[in-house]
Amino acid sequence: MFLRNYWYVAATDSEIGRKPFARTILGEPIVLFRTEGGAPVAFEDRCAHRHLPLSMGKLVGDRLQCHYHGLQYDRTGRCVRIPGQDQIPPDAKVKAYPVVERYHWLWIWMGDPALADPARITDFHWLDDADWGAKSSYLYVKSNWQLIVDNLLDLTHLAFVHESTIGNAALAEHATVKVTRAPNNVVVTRWIIDQPAPPTFVKVGGFTSNVDRWQIIDFTPPAFLRLDVGATPTGTGAPQGKRVGGITMRNLNAITPETEKTAHYFWAQAHDFDVKNAGLTQKIFEQIETAFHEDVAVFTAQQRSLDAIPNPPQVDINADTGVIQARRILDRLHTQEQAALHATAAE
């Protein structure tokens, strides 16, 4: 199940340059490149002539030239040169996708181009904000994208999957959890009061006694999860909104389905303390990266289970509230999108 009328992260800014770059998104093979002026361009990755992926071709100025018979496409996807022939058939064109560069990511619109409003790009300003230190990365995941969304909405798993970094038993056993929902948003707020800090927090925050820790998870469809996380020495007022003497971070996640069984996982960790300290940014990043590799191993194994027995029965527990509310939103949006598509097709 995919939602199409959304901006997705297609690539990091540094992945895309003057060499055509292939990436499949929502099951559609896409080629990305930059013009000589640096503007990002995305086409369907298939020559209109004999179907060779255009990503095997090369750039000639701002034109993408097919590797097979040399057809050249301008930045709108229109074929403008066929070697040895003056007439260009009107169907000699490839689909061009709207692309916007923002927050060091390249965003692609996968739906009706008429609806591609850049104002709808989800806010990830922390990646591009002088008040924050941040480092981002990419993981290729061999699982359905919704398993990653589920993971980030139920952080009790930190106690079991990530006990060497960001987890400890207190997270699962001593959290107070509040889930709030809006038509297209779920927020899970977790507070863990007067409990030991997990290993990563001790390393980067220098905590020597118990902390009040928060995890505020914001889910925005289709697959954006922005986590406000941190801790302060216990009893200093963080639950009342006064964050002093501790650390605040953002764990930022943008998941882009590749296929029904694979996903592109763009993520970043940002921090609001000692923001110019690149060594600290790196140290925090490495802690979270360790944890995320542990997650990827989980997703891959879950997908193997689901491949072996599709749609098995499953039990829901109280910690699933955020997960279930988010899936309900995604199901509703998918139904609405499909209904609108069918209505359009019927016209």
Binding site: V177, K178, V179, R181, D316, N318, D320, T321, I324, Q325, R328
Partner: protein, 107 residues
Amino acid sequence: MQDADGWQRVAALADLADDAALPAKLGNRRIALYRLDGKVHALDDVCTHALALLSQGFIEGGAVECPLHGARFDIATGRCLAPPATVDLRTYEVRIEGGEVFVRAAD
């Protein structure tokens, strides 16, 4: 502890909010307290469908929606309003005295 008539103090009135349920224990039973239009209601906290805690659910229009599977119950009466649950929630008598909430464990 319950008195001879089965009443037990379960919470301070000040701990109740209009938009959130307050889970409490009545003996060994998990109950949830709700405040609607200034009146306090006490109901079983465990969904009659699949044992989710309703105090973690969503309060809308005088009803509580189960956080997991969407069953809805009338807060004032405990009546089941929406599937997948089919059985009503048990309700309890409530008394407010000196800023404290007392609930009566009915037989």
